[in-house]
Amino acid sequence: MTDIPAGSLHIDKAQAAPASKVRGYWGSVWNRLRYDYVTLSCMALIAVIVLLAVFAPWIAPMDPDKSSMANRLRPIGYKKFLLGTDEQGRDMLSRLLWGGRNSLLMGIVPVIFATTIGGAFGVVAGYYGGKVNMVIMRTMDVFFAFPSVLLAVAIAGSLGGGIFNQMLTLTVVLIPPICRVAETATSQVRSLDFVDAARASGASTISILFSHVLINVLSPVLVYSSTLVSISIILAAGLSFLGLGVAPPTADWGLMLSTLRQSIYVQPLIAALPGVAILITSIAFNLVSDGLRQAMDVKA
């Protein structure tokens, strides 16, 4: 090996950019998110909605299940009923607060379970490929063949109503799309050289999956899952609307929408309220996931 000036080895150091503040991956995500006011305000909105739902028993001005025949379908702002009353004379504000508990539960819990299960299947299918991939993904395709609402109705119909069955239904419905996203992301990562480099260093498959693959698959899957929160809330509302979710008189946004629709010509504003709650929550989740997608994009 001969003669190119010896000092040339160290040129890179001189060319290197001035030492910037070193922060981790999540640090850089936060740094980008910090200036995204839409996403930040939507996050705040979600936090408020969650807090209101969690503390509903203390915040709600009245008992959500106490009906009063004298005060049926009162308009917004009637006496002590801040948001009016429903067709049984129950306070709408209290019912919305209590109903948020169930709806948010239906939005978040199934998504968490589906992300864990679907993500695991997707990563395994994407990493191993071949027959494993075929078995897992073709099974998912069977679920994909049905429209999600139809699938949810079919499963919930055969399982029966109730909170647990509703969550189970939503989880099953949400697994295939998450699995597919995880599978695509994993097979892309799988083909990159750093996975081969890790294999060449003698690492076990488990170690490679956890230290190299998961960390790269996480962000697309998380972003996608967060869009599913709003879908899950709407699906749950749909199930409740059809009588396949929680049973009345429990407060639930979907169920309220269902029972109030008969009164839509009498008190359209009141009938629209649960729909507005669902709309605001799902838009907030969608905007947050959109902001997250941008913030989690490396290379930016």
Partner: protein
Amino acid sequence: MTDVIETTTPTPASRDRGGPAQPMLIVENIKKYFPIRAGLLNRKVAEVKAVDDISFYVLKGETLGIVGESGCGKSTLARLLMYLIEKDEGHLVLDGDPVGEKAGVPLDGLRRSLQMVFQDSYSSLNPRLPIESSIAYGPKVQGASAKSAKEQARALLEKVGLKADRFGQRYPHELSGGQKQRVNIARALALDPRLLILDEAVSALDKSVEAQVLNLLGDLKEQLNLTYIFISHDLHVVKYISDRVLVMYLGQVVEIGPVDKIYEDPKHPYTQALLACRLSMDPDERVDAAPLAGDPPNPVNPPSGCRFHTRCPHAEDVCMSKMPALGDALRSDPSEHLAACHMVHAGSGHSKAPNPEVTTLPLWQGEMR
């Protein structure tokens, strides 16, 4: 180059099992055919003969250059040697011990002795890990504590010319191409290998950075007593860094020999064409016509006889019917120059083949120039 091994031996002598005469790595009749599947039942309809019966050896402390055009199986060969893809046939012998067989070194031992630097410096580093963690990963997998692995990673960063304090916590996208390739080299060195496979390791870098990295590789080779297999399509770089050169065409070795002999007196028409493709520093000697026309033949259906005959200016009937032998690459002396061409082998039936009685070098070389 080759005397380096005698003079500097920083590593314990116990690692050198077979002695200086034992080649670092012997590759014996290695084969890899990729099946092409099609149809409803996914039946195998054909095979891509990516690596077809290749044999060679690498001496301790030498640099073996492997050249050939894109798609000739260079990278497949590298991955076969690393056991990143399963070989169909053949044997590897690492410093006298067969690899992956009952009596020989286990796969894990091979992984510690053999490491690879990948071509694409970006995709070969995990974008979500600080480079220090990427380098420390290998030692950790092999049982080092997190602390000692980290210290080793920092020491290696310094060794490849990157300040650990400044760069250790950076992410791959915060580094330039040359810096990333240094990190890749550091990562490969982290397991303290004896043989480094450099698969187009400098091809993606611009010329000034390429020179830096080549110098770094030269320095490291002397310091750490390394052996290199240097795969590249850049003939200038291969000439600069190699002791011996192996030329591949369509999954086979067509020529192997010491770098000077190959570059000054190429015997195989393919090697001659490759060398003629090199850009000259002198604008008066510019190459007007491409010495090699057309694409290489389909490796699914390689030509009969000599695989190069479809593009060879000297092709005759014998080339289409009979595959020329390279000679015994495993038993030949490292200074020997072998070529798989009928024009080299006496009595092959080619009109330009040397007369069997004449033992001196053939004259056809001179006629051609």
